[in-house]
Symmetry: C2
Subunit: 215 residues, 2 copies
DNA sequence: TGTACATCAGTGAACGCGCGTTCACTGATGTAC
DNA sequence: TGTACATCAGTGAACGCGCGTTCACTGATGTAC
């Protein structure tokens, strides 16, 4: 009966307030930033009294954690799409692996640039990731971190990278892309109106991979 | 007469309220985070009425920008100290350059881990760096970014690194260390109580340099 | 199929709060003569 | 050296604000019989 309920919006019960609040929160965070976000405003946007939110989330941090969690899921989805599209453009297993690695880095930075506030929610003070390691943040095989591990394995299996270079490469790769994403967000390196994000990012990803190759 | 004034604290005029407020802000940010910081609390801590702050800073953002700016200066100082100490431990110019590069990376990550909230102030929403490129944030030759450029040059002059690898290496190096610092801060990779920050960082710096060497 | 009742998911008023900022003010300082 | 006066750097009261959260409540739903 959930669907029926969500059709008539004038009903007393909302149908799926938790999801509605999460997506309202996302909208508002995009508008005012994580710091400017309030439960009251989210509730108002959904058309519900502020106190209703407390049926679904323990508190403000709970709502923000939901936003962050959803962010990890979206990021993983986008990365996965980009990777499989990239793989299709190549024949050899090695070329596919390289293309997937590049696509993943691009997807990561693009996600951050296109969703700066959600990205901040994911890694900031309230972020899902500040409570627990990233590995646990999504269902295990879907987390961005798991995707990274897999593509690094793929690079090793296809001999693009030696087992020695593969070792602990997660942290190096993640640091590089995460740093680039944050630097782009802070506008501290350059105003990315003047800059082709994809081009700069691809440059960095390739140098990263180049370093791994010869490790 | 500045010094005389700052001696008697009971005087009507404070002496150097701007500096006192900045350092109070730093203390409070370390305690409650950037988001929890308020001008009123800083003024109270200094023992001055809230409105007095407006003689010295245009608004809250102005005070936070001062904190951020001071952060860049401190970071540069600490990095410089670490680098010159590291250089002393080696004889050849090449070894000195390598040691200085490693020391710089270590200093960067250590600064972030030891001053997480100031680091956040530096690169966050209010950060000095969100208004203008990092290059302008300190006096030109003292900025952390300038130090990075110089040590990369040094690596090239001593032939540790080829001119091709030197090209645009700033962004790669900075991304890597900045990402590592942020990842450590978010606790999303690991709880750094269980981890030797210096050891992990040194591992990453070395892999970064290794990649540059063979570029 | 109809009814009683427990449970669920909302309401809306109220709480106490600290905030950023403005404003007219005043005490202290320094300078020109 | 002394005095008048402009300027500087504070005060403290007040403004209006939106916030997170609690609480007793009520309308809607679903289930047992």
């Amino acid at each position: 009966m959930r669907i029926a309920k969500s059709k008539r919006r004038t009903s007393y019960h909302h149908g799926d307030l938790a999801a509605a609040l999460t997506s309202a929160a996302l909208k508002l965070i995009a508008r005012h930033g994580v710091e400017g976000f309030s439960i009251r405003e989210a509730a108002t946007l959904v058309g519900v009294s502020p106190s209703a939110a407390y049926r679904h989330f323990a508190d403000k941090a709970g709502l923000l954690a939901a936003v962050a969690k959803q962010g990890f899921a979206r990021l993983a989805l986008e990365a996965q799409d980009a990777m499989s599209a990239a793989r299709k453009r190549h024949r050899s297993a090695a070329a596919k692996a390289v293309a997937a690695f590049e696509a993943q880095g691009l997807a990561y930075v693009n996600f951050a640039v296109n969703n700066p506030e959600q990205f901040q929610a994911m890694f900031g003070r309230y972020g899902a990731s500040s409570q627990q390691p990233v590995h646990n943040v999504c269902s295990t095989d879907q987390s961005p971190y798991e995707l990274l591990k897999r593509v690094l394995d793929e690079l090793m299996f296809t001999k693009v990278v030696t087992p020695a270079a593969r070792k602990d490469a997660e942290l190096l790769a993640w640091s590089t892309m995460h740093g680039l994403a944050n630097i782009m967000l802070s506008h501290s390196f350059m105003n990315h109106d003047n800059v082709n994000v994809d081009q700069v990012t691809l440059g960095i990803v390739r140098r990263l991979l180049h370093g791994l190759r010869l490790d």
